[in-house]
């Protein structure tokens, strides 16, 4: 039973540019979620969305060495800890990203329910709204 999400994406940009976009708080806030973030192991980060009724995401940076970034991912109000891993590899004409989000099967019982509730609740709407917001930003800029 698959319980890990894996994404691969090639960006036509240098590895340092991509690394900066995923580790610099100002940049993360532009394309992802409003971030209080430092690429330092042990840093307790927060990702917030700009709209109300959205639970912030928080967690701890586990590893941040170019070009691998690992942090835990917890939806506020829940106990469930999942892990997000970003791996960057230089390829011809750009950078390949391997993104992994794991893993529900590590969590039994109560925490799994909370995880379930966290996405069953209002968070989905926040994400959609945020995507619209980002699109507006890109179109405007």
């Amino acid at each position: 039973m698959k319980d890990v999400i894996n994404k691969e994406h090639v960006f036509n940009h240098t590895i340092d540019k991509v690394w900066s976009a995923i580790t610099n708080a100002d940049e993360i806030s532009t394309w992802f979620l409003a971030a209080d973030f430092k690429p330092e192991a042990g840093y307790k980060y927060t990702f917030k969305s700009k709209t109300d009724h959205c639970e912030p995401i928080f967690g701890e940076v586990k590893e941040a060495n170019p070009y691998k970034l690992v942090y835990t991912w917890i939806v506020t109000g829940t106990e469930a800890v999942t892990t997000v891993t970003w791996n960057l590899v230089p390829v011809e004409n750009g950078t390949k990203l391997y993104l992994e989000h794991s893993g529900i099967s590590k969590y039994e019982g109560e925490t799994a329910i909370e995880m379930f509730e966290s996405f069953n609740g209002g968070w989905t709407n926040c994400v959609n709204r945020l995507t619209d917001y980002l699109k507006e930003l890109v179109n405007a800029g």
């Binding site: 994404k7 994406h9 394309w31 019982g109 329910i113 069953n120 980002l134 699109k135 890109v138």
Partner: protein
């Protein structure tokens, strides 16, 4: 409803149970406890315990036939887990697309 989800996550949290469930899914017919024990080199008691957990989650149905019990897989309850995966899968697709747009729009 909550109770159901607890049981489901409990059932899939264990790798051996996932393997047993997988074996039942790909089996062309119901498997007996004895067959599962042989296949996984486990005691009947151990298999029975795993099967019970899977049964409680609704992932396995058991039919008694004589002295033997036969197990059938039912993947329908896994839709709940699938929902989680689909949600985050879409989330990351949209985020990576936003990251690409951001990088493309950024100078340098």
């Amino acid at each position: 409803m909550q109770d159901k989800i607890t049981k489901l996550f409990k059932a899939i949290a264990d790798p051996t149970r996932r393997d047993i469930f997988h074996a039942l899914v790909i089996a062309t017919s119901a498997l007996s406890i004895t067959q599962i024990s042989n296949q996984f080199e486990m005691t009947r008691q151990g298999v029975t315990k795993h099967i019970k957990t899977l049964q409680e989650a609704g992932l396995v149905h058991i039919v008694a036939y004589g002295r033997e019990r036969f197990c059938n897989a039912d993947p329908k309850p896994l839709k709940e887990v699938d929902k989680w995966l689909k949600f985050y899968s879409q989330f990351w697709d949209s985020k990576l697309s936003a990251l690409e747009d951001y990088l493309d729009s950024k100078e340098g």
